[in-house]
C-alpha cells in the first residue's frame, strides 16, 4: 500500500485505540475524582457553618451559595460560599460561612493560597504562635463585616469588625480581609435576589 495510505491508517488506528482505552479509563476514574471533590466541599461547608443537617444550593453568576438548614427549622442557620481573590503572590480561595443576614462571619477556612512560605502562609498555619497555630483564621469567627473588615497592625483589635495583621505579612492579611468584605457583598446580593 502507498506510504500516504499507510501513514493515515497507522495514525488513525493509533488514535482510535488510545481514544477507546482512555474512554474506559475515564469512566473508571471520573466518579472517584468527583466523589472526592464533593467530599472536600461538604467538609469545608461543615467547618464554616453552625451545626446543620443539609444545605440547599443557590447558583449565582460566578458563585454558588450553600444555604445550611437544620431539620425542623424553617429559617437557614447560615450561608456558605467560596470567596476568591488576589492575595500577595497569587489566587486565594476561602470558604466562608456567614449569618443569614450577612452581617457577621461565622467562620472561614482557607482552601487555596500560594503566599510566601513562612510569612504569607501564616494565614493558614503559624508555627510561631504556640497557643494557636490557626489564630489568624480563628479571628474571623463571629466577626462583623459592617461596614467592612478593618485590619490593625501590632495591636489587639478593639472593634467588632477588626482583625490583627500578621507581622511581616501585612499584604496577605489585608488581602484576606478585602476578599471577604467584597465577596460577602456579592453573596448578599445573590441571596437577596434569588433566595428567600
Amino acid at each position: 500500500m502507498s506510504t500516504t495510505t499507510k501513514m493515515i491508517l497507522v495514525l488513525t488506528t493509533l488514535t482510535m485505540i488510545s481514544g477507546g482505552l482512555l474512554s474506559y479509563w475515564d469512566g473508571f476514574t471520573r466518579p472517584k475524582i468527583e466523589a472526592y471533590r464533593l467530599q472536600e466541599l461538604k467538609k469545608a461547608i461543615k467547618e464554616v457553618l453552625p451545626p446543620n443537617d443539609s444545605y440547599d444550593e443557590i447558583k449565582g453568576k460566578d458563585m454558588t451559595l450553600y444555604v445550611g438548614k437544620k431539620s425542623g427549622e424553617p429559617k437557614p442557620v447560615g450561608i456558605a460560599f467560596e470567596a476568591v481573590g488576589n492575595g500577595f503572590q497569587g489566587k486565594v480561595a476561602i470558604m466562608v460561612g456567614v449569618t443569614p443576614d450577612f452581617s457577621h462571619i461565622n467562620a472561614i477556612k482557607i482552601l487555596e493560597q500560594i503566599e510566601t512560605p513562612g510569612l504569607g502562609t501564616k494565614i493558614v498555619d503559624d508555627p510561631t504562635n504556640k497557643q494557636d497555630r490557626s489564630w489568624f483564621s480563628n479571628q474571623f469567627k463571629n466577626l462583623s463585616v459592617e461596614p467592612q473588615i478593618e485590619v490593625v497592625k501590632n495591636m489587639k483589635p478593639s472593634k467588632p469588625n477588626e482583625i490583627q495583621a500578621i507581622t511581616g505579612a501585612t499584604i496577605s492579611s489585608r488581602s484576606v480581609a478585602k476578599i471577604l468584605t467584597d465577596q460577602v457583598n456579592v453573596a448578599k446580593s445573590i441571596y437577596q435576589s434569588k433566595g428567600q
Partner: protein, 204 residues
C-alpha cells in the same frame, strides 16, 4: 562496521550516571526544578514519569517497524500523551493530595524531553527487551536525581524530610531553598558536581 551491542547490564546502568538524563544530557529540567521542593513530590513525579517512560517504550518498540517514518513523532506523541493521561487520572483518583501538589506538572510529562528523547534515540530502533532495559535505567537515574534534589531542598528549606521534622528548632530554615531561586541554585550545583566528578574519573 556494525556497532557492538552493549551488555544487558550496561543498558540499565548507563542511565544512572554516564548518560544520566538530567545531569549529563540536560533533559527533563522543567519537572526537576518544579517538583523537588519536597522529597515526596520528587519521588512521586519520578514514579509517574517512570510509568510513562516504560509503558510507552514497550508499545513503541513493539510497533517500531509498522510506523512510517513521516508520522514517527506524531505517533510517539499520541502514545505518550495517552499514558500521561492515565497516570494523571490515576493520581487524581487515588492520591488526590499528591495530585494537587504536583499540579499541572504531571500532564507536562508529555513534553518531558527525556521520554520523547529515549523513544527517538532508542525504542524506535531496538527490541522490546532492550528498550525496557534502557527506559528502566533512565527512569532510575531520573528518580535518583529528583529524590536527591528533593531531599536537599526539603531539609534545608523546611527542616523536614518526607514531612517529618529532622532538624530541630535550632535550625532556621532557608526558605529560599523551596522557592525558585533555591531550585536553580540546587540544580546548578548538582550539575557542576556531576561535571567535576566525571572529569576526575576521566583523569584517573
Amino acid at each position: 562496521m556494525a556497532r557492538k551491542q552493549a551488555s544487558v547490564s550496561y543498558e540499565v546502568i548507563k542511565g544512572l550516571w554516564d548518560e544520566n538524563p538530567v545531569l549529563r544530557s540536560l533533559l527533563g529540567l522543567c519537572p526537576t526544578l518544579a517538583v523537588t521542593n519536597s522529597a515526596i513530590n520528587g519521588l512521586a513525579m519520578g514514579l509517574a514519569t517512570t510509568f510513562v517512560l516504560i509503558t510507552s517504550s514497550i508499545i513503541i518498540s513493539s510497533v517500531r517497524n509498522i510506523i512510517p517514518n513521516q508520522v514517527r513523532i506524531s505517533s510517539f506523541i499520541v502514545v505518550i500523551a495517552a499514558f500521561v493521561t492515565v497516570a494523571d487520572r490515576f493520581l487524581a483518583a487515588f492520591y488526590p493530595l499528591i495530585s494537587k501538589d504536583l499540579g499541572p506538572y504531571v500532564p507536562l510529562i508529555v513534553v518531558n524531553c527525556i521520554i520523547l528523547g529515549r523513544q527517538e534515540a532508542f525504542s524506535a530502533k531496538n527490541s522490546v527487551f532492550r528498550s525496557l532495559l534502557d527506559s528502566s535505567g533512565m527512569s532510575l537515574g531520573f528518580i535518583l536525581v529528583l529524590l536527591a534534589l528533593g531531599m536537599v531542598r526539603e531539609i534545608l528549606g523546611s527542616g523536614t524530610l518526607f514531612g517529618i521534622t529532622v532538624l530541630g528548632d535550632w535550625f532556621d530554615p532557608w526558605m529560599m531553598m523551596i522557592l525558585p531561586p533555591g531550585a536553580f541554585l540546587g540544580l546548578g550545583i548538582f550539575i557542576a558536581l556531576a561535571n567535576w566528578l566525571n572529569a576526575r574519573r576521566a583523569k584517573a
